[in-house]
Symmetry: C2
Subunit: 231 residues, 2 copies
């Protein structure tokens, strides 16, 4: 089961992670990890993960359940008593304060699991498709977080030579779409919507940012939407 | 449920965590978190956690299951195909290389969950009873790991003012026993053994370090052992 892998790539099932997985599949023989954490669209994202790995030929996979984030709550994604906001335009999706869809310190959970696995597999890289530009302003998507995390990995592992890579962090979302098309990343299999699992809602932050990205890139978004964004 | 808490304290159920919890109970109104991660003595440690919290009057508690470490394996504590070593003396327990009982990057998992919870509770401190001195040489028990992790917390959280504290990290194990006795920490309720749940084996690294600590402190170890260490 623990085959040789050059990298562990975290794949949520969204468009950024699919492009990141395509980069990993091109550059390394990666193992792919997916984390279910009680988010509203958990089942749909897990399906996207499986289909993306199938398409990219990534055979070594691990799906894990992080029970803590659901129990801790504090986010519209994990606590059904907090509504997922509908946003009217991209400006309100990018807003200057941390939105209620922020899952507290989530990416630290994902990285911890991926680094543990990398250590056991002997993989030297952990890839994550975090994006700072055109994003919702989550603190755990900023470059300084990943720089700091690399120091944690250096000091806290037995291997000490694993590094986190964030190949998309400085890209605009439209550039990520273009990069995905160039790489043949399976954008058609991805799921970005925060609130629905049948068709994408089109009005959550994630849908609004995604739609604008495809529009700016001049690429048709292959995912079906329930309604158009009003802008 | 999410009552006001001044700190989140991680409590494994071992002697160091019980002393750390007693410090937290003295200085803060803490919430206590326990993580089961598929370790051999999971049920016994969870019982110790509950009893320690009861004794210290810590009402706000969370027990979570981290499924990933068991799936990832790579440690004698989580993989039953790797034997827990029996050590002959304290010197071989402290050894210079990372032992097979190291659970890869485990403390990064524990801290991620505790920091997420602190963020939601509005707690400003996360306490963990990590010990560098007299320990088995786990990389994620060293001060530099916690210094680096504090930078991750500063950059990766919305609150940005949570800090990790390691009140025991520089103490010898015998000093921890003495500190525990002074504080009235519930050392009698703790469980340190890596391999057994009925009585402590007395011959794993953890038992050997614990027995020496009590002996050096001149305090009777209240926990029953299966056999004496040969030295």
């Amino acid at each position: 089961m623990a085959e040789k892998a050059g990298a562990v790539v975290l794949v949520s099932g969204g468009m950024d992670s699919a492009v990141c997985a395509a980069i990993a599949a091109r550059d390394y023989q990666p193992a792919a990890m997916h984390v279910s954490y009680g988010q509203r669209t958990e089942a749909r994202e897990r399906r996207a993960f499986t289909e993306i790995c199938d398409r990219l030929g990534i055979a070594t996979r691990m799906v894990i359940r992080d029970e803590s984030l659901g129990k801790i709550g504090g986010s519209a994604l994990t606590d059904t008593s907090i509504a997922v906001p509908e946003v009217q335009d991209v400006e309100s999706a990018i807003g200057s304060k941390v939105p209620v869809t922020y899952v507290p310190f989530r990416n630290a959970h994902l990285l911890a699991a991926a680094v543990s696995w990398a250590e056991v597999l002997g993989a030297k890289k952990v890839l994550i498709g975090a994006v700072e530009q055109d994003s919702s302003g989550y603190p755990d998507c900023r470059p300084e977080f990943y720089r700091a995390y690399n120091e944690v990995v250096r000091t806290g592992t037995s291997a000490a030579d694993i590094t986190i890579e964030t190949p998309l962090i400085a890209l605009r979302k439209a550039e990520i779409v273009r990069r995905g098309v160039e790489l043949g990343a399976p954008l058609d299999l991805t799921w970005s919507c925060y609130s629905r699992e049948d068709v994408a809602c089109g009005v959550c932050e994630s849908c609004v940012l995604r739609k604008r990205a495809f529009a700016d890139a001049g690429v048709r978004d292959p995912v079906p939407y329930a309604q158009a964004v009003l802008h």
